[in-house]
Symmetry: C2
Subunit: 329 residues, 2 copies
């Protein structure tokens, strides 16, 4: 980012700093000759006109991070990572919570304009059309969830591969009758993890009844508990669970106790995310660690680059996961 | 809120709506005669000039909610409550995370101006001076934590009384040797809950060793686990724990298992907050339920009233808590 201040431009253009600021942000309020004069000075100083961010304004840039739901603790570390990066670059970070969809996209775009946002980090998978709409206002980076059909940068993990490895680990440790407790199907991660789960079963030539693939509409402990109780109360019960969230894994452990099954002796459990909860339960939960902090941090770093150079090339990135073995397997 | 729109004022003053908007928000950009003309029309329509909020703007007002740390899941329900209220009134809600202090107060005030915030909900206890600074910019309401010496409205709970009742319950159920696992001392809740704990002991004429009052610098599961392990590993060990967070209670349960003590047979545990975790552990945690959603909702409703009438009277409010009895006692 070039260290050209509004004051410097104002001085050289012989106008007030407020006028320069208006040229940058409220061009409609400034007369044409003044705009031309200010723009000339900025060009002579080497600022690109289409990119007002190259001028370091007196105000700190603002980054908006959108999360689908505050109740999912998975997002905490991602937010922390983004905050560390934003702070290091002197940017404000504000968090907006919304399941972005057609119904509220206009609201969100209005908000971005209203607060004069400099960039957006999106943790929702949204349509290409909506991404285009947002990109008209500010640079954006997708984090965790992303639209693979749209040409916008993202940082995420290889969900399919991670789920496949976790399932293979269960199969190798005696979990021959595996159930999948999955989350809302409109999320990329739910689809991919189910794919990975099925891949591993297919390779091992293991068949499971259809009802052992449970799709829950929310990452809700209560719902998972009820669903797992039903599975454990049936005549043909699973002896292993792969769950796409540690919250679900905690529900499996609780449900197993309710039916006097021992974890891991009778039932193996593998979760996903490695949130703090996974080491709080007894037994503690074997889980797939996601690099949450790094994803948030990297997403913000990528965004900052785009804010500096909106037309620069930006490669997307898949970060590594790892299986953390604890007491539940 | 009077239903007088910018368009109506513009029509009557024979200026563009953009000019009216500028008079309201960027007075410095408008010529004096135009300001006078617009203000005259507004007065004739019954708008108070010192309070631009009485004019319903085309843009949605923005409320900023500050939390000290995103990692404390206790805030989730508070945010949800505030969001429901804000949404119902057509306001945007953005979350800002910061331990507000002298060092970053200027940053925060700049942010509020930068995004043209209409009001603030504060979950930090901050100095009267800082509250005054913020109030110069926007109306504010304190939630959970508050400065009792400053004359600003708050919604919270009676921490002292809640802690006293919880401790009395432990004493009545055989917990004669009670330890307190407390949080960071700069929080009002930590001071008050310790007060309540001591009150109950005093009334029952129970004495405890000094080292059974543990003050941790963070609401951290890891730290609590280590501290409780030390207590349980000593010759004179407590047979009951009152913890000011369910996260600490979960750590007590885990530490008790580590030393082969049975909860609740050998050790009683009462937590605080009633976060989801308290029903996820085995045994589940007896805890003081805080009306988290209601606090967030009420704080936002109070703020909306202040945004409409910044000089109106506003009473503070303490909401009720209740003891939720589960398996850990």
């Amino acid at each position: 980012m070039k260290k050209i201040t509004v004051s410097l431009i104002a001085e050289k253009a012989q106008v007030s700093p407020a006028t320069v600021s208006r040229v940058l942000n409220h061009r409609e309020l400034v007369k044409e000759p003044t705009i031309r004069k200010v723009e000339e000075v900025m060009r002579s100083l080497g600022c690109q006109m289409e990119n007002t961010v190259t001028v370091s304004k007196e105000t700190q840039p603002l980054i908006v991070l959108n999360i689908p739901g505050i109740e999912n603790v998975f997002y905490q570390e991602i937010i922390r990572g983004a905050r560390v990066s934003a702070k290091a670059h002197g940017c404000h970070l504000l968090i907006h919570e919304s399941h972005l969809n057609k119904g509220n996209m206009l609201d969100f775009c209005n908000l971005l304009r209203r607060v004069d946002a400099a960039g957006v980090i999106l943790l929702n998978r949204i349509s290409e059309e909506a991404l285009n709409q947002i990109r008209m206002i500010v640079p954006l980076v997708q984090c965790c969830e992303y639209n693979e059909h749209a040409d916008y940068p993202y940082v995420s993990i290889d969900d399919t591969r991670a789920a496949e490895l976790a399932t293979e680990y269960l199969l190798a440790n005696g979990g021959s009758k595996i159930a999948l407790i999955n989350g809302p199907g409109n999320f990329k991660y739910a689809k991919r993890r189910q794919e990975g789960f099925m891949n591993a079963l297919q390779k091992a030539e293991v068949m499971i009844p259809k009802q052992w693939i449970v799709q829950l509409p929310e990452v809700s402990y209560e719902m998972a508990y009820a669903a797992v109780c039903r599975l454990l109360n049936s005549d043909s019960r699973p002896n292993a669970f792969f769950t796409i969230s540690d919250v679900f894994a905690a529900a499996v452990i609780r449900a197993a106790k309710r039916f006097h099954f021992h974890v891991p002796k009778d039932i193996l459990v593998v979760g996903f995310d490695n949130i703090e909860l996974s080491s709080m339960t007894t037994p503690s939960i074997t889980t797939v660690n996601q690099p949450k902090f790094q994803m948030g941090y990297t997403a913000c770093e990528m965004l900052l680059e785009l804010m500096e150079d909106p037309h620069g090339e930006m490669k997307s990135l898949l970060l590594d996961t790892e299986l953390v073995i604890r007491e539940s397997t």
